[in-house]
């Protein structure tokens, strides 16, 4: 087997093991809030379906509109800490999302020609 395939297999194995740990961690958060117990399966299914892509809080909120932001933040942070993703920041303007990715939230002087903007953290899968 070629070295690059070995690396890919190792990366996928790490991602699967990360996902298992993630499932346990999410279970413990959901257990703390009894009203969210029924969300464990849908949440992990959603994460599984996004593990090779990008986790965008906007889609996350759309998928779970009734979950409070603290719980979604905790789950989002667990996904970030699971090791399968790198964190980037994107800039949203009234005209749409800018293509650039930033490693830190950018201040106004870093974004030329934009008067009004917001920042969104994204988790981009390391295995794509």
């Amino acid at each position: 087997m070629a070295e690059s395939e070995d690396k890919e297999m190792a990366s996928v194995a790490q991602s699967i093991s990360g996902l298992q740990n993630l499932k346990y961690s999410i279970a413990s958060i959901v257990e703390d809030r009894s009203e969210y117990r029924s969300l464990l399966e849908p949440l992990t299914r959603w994460i599984e379906s996004h593990q090779h892509s990008t986790i965008d809080p906007r889609e996350f909120v759309q998928a779970f509109p009734t979950v409070d932001p603290r719980t979604l933040t905790k789950v989002f942070r667990l996904i970030a800490q699971s090791g399968g993703f790198r964190r980037v920041y994107k800039v949203i303007t009234p005209k749409g999302t800018l293509p650039e990715e930033y490693s830190e939230p950018p201040v106004r002087s870093q974004i030329l020609g934009v008067a009004e903007y917001d920042i969104i953290p994204l988790l981009v899968s390391k295995v794509r």
Partner: protein
């Protein structure tokens, strides 16, 4: 840096960012917090983003407590004090304060709720506010539980307020440890 300083910076940052969900305010707050605690800085950005996406109302200073013939100034005074204390306790406190303020504002402004009902709810919220300022081990949890259970029943008598508790009640109950 002491935890109190971090809490105070988090509070300031939360207020600034909540005012208009502005990206520059978020970035500046991130930089300030990162010098003290990089993990808190990241956590702050994540939370502020989810908070804004879920369209929670921005925190502002509350109400005057006088509605028509009803003077609830004393009770609203208790609520305002609790809000000030809670806002200084970081994100958990901010959620509680925001929920308490939103319910109080909407009840006071509601046109299809009788004055007596308004008075009952504001009395209950004032009691919750006073208890919230007590240390957790000194709170009268059984009484609090019963007061909290009574609020959604009263709110449901006004159609415009019927979903208010479902949306904000969990933040209040969670903060009080119920």
């Amino acid at each position: 840096m002491e935890p109190a300083k971090l809490r105070s910076l988090l509070w300031e940052a939360h207020l600034e960012v909540s005012a208009d969900h502005n990206g520059n305010a978020k970035a500046l707050a991130y930089r300030k917090l990162k010098q003290i605690d990089p993990e808190e800085a990241e956590k702050f950005i994540d939370y502020a983003s989810f908070y804004a996406l879920m369209d929670k109302p921005a925190p502002t200073v509350i109400v005057n407590g006088v509605v028509g013939n009803l003077n609830l100034g004393t009770q609203v005074g208790h609520i305002e004090t609790a809000l000030e204390v809670a806002w200084k306790q970081g994100i958990e406190g901010a959620d509680f304060a925001n929920a308490l303020k939103t319910i109080t504002d909407q009840v006071l402004a509601c046109k299809d709720l009788e004055d007596q009902r308004k008075s009952e709810i504001v009395d209950s919220l004032a009691f919750i506010s006073e208890e919230a300022q007590s240390p957790p081990e000194k709170r009268k949890l059984a009484v609090l539980k019963s007061v909290i259970e009574s609020i959604p029943k009263i709110l449901s008598s006004a159609a415009s307020l019927s979903t208010l508790w479902t949306k904000y009640g969990p933040f209040i109950a969670g903060y009080l440890g119920l």
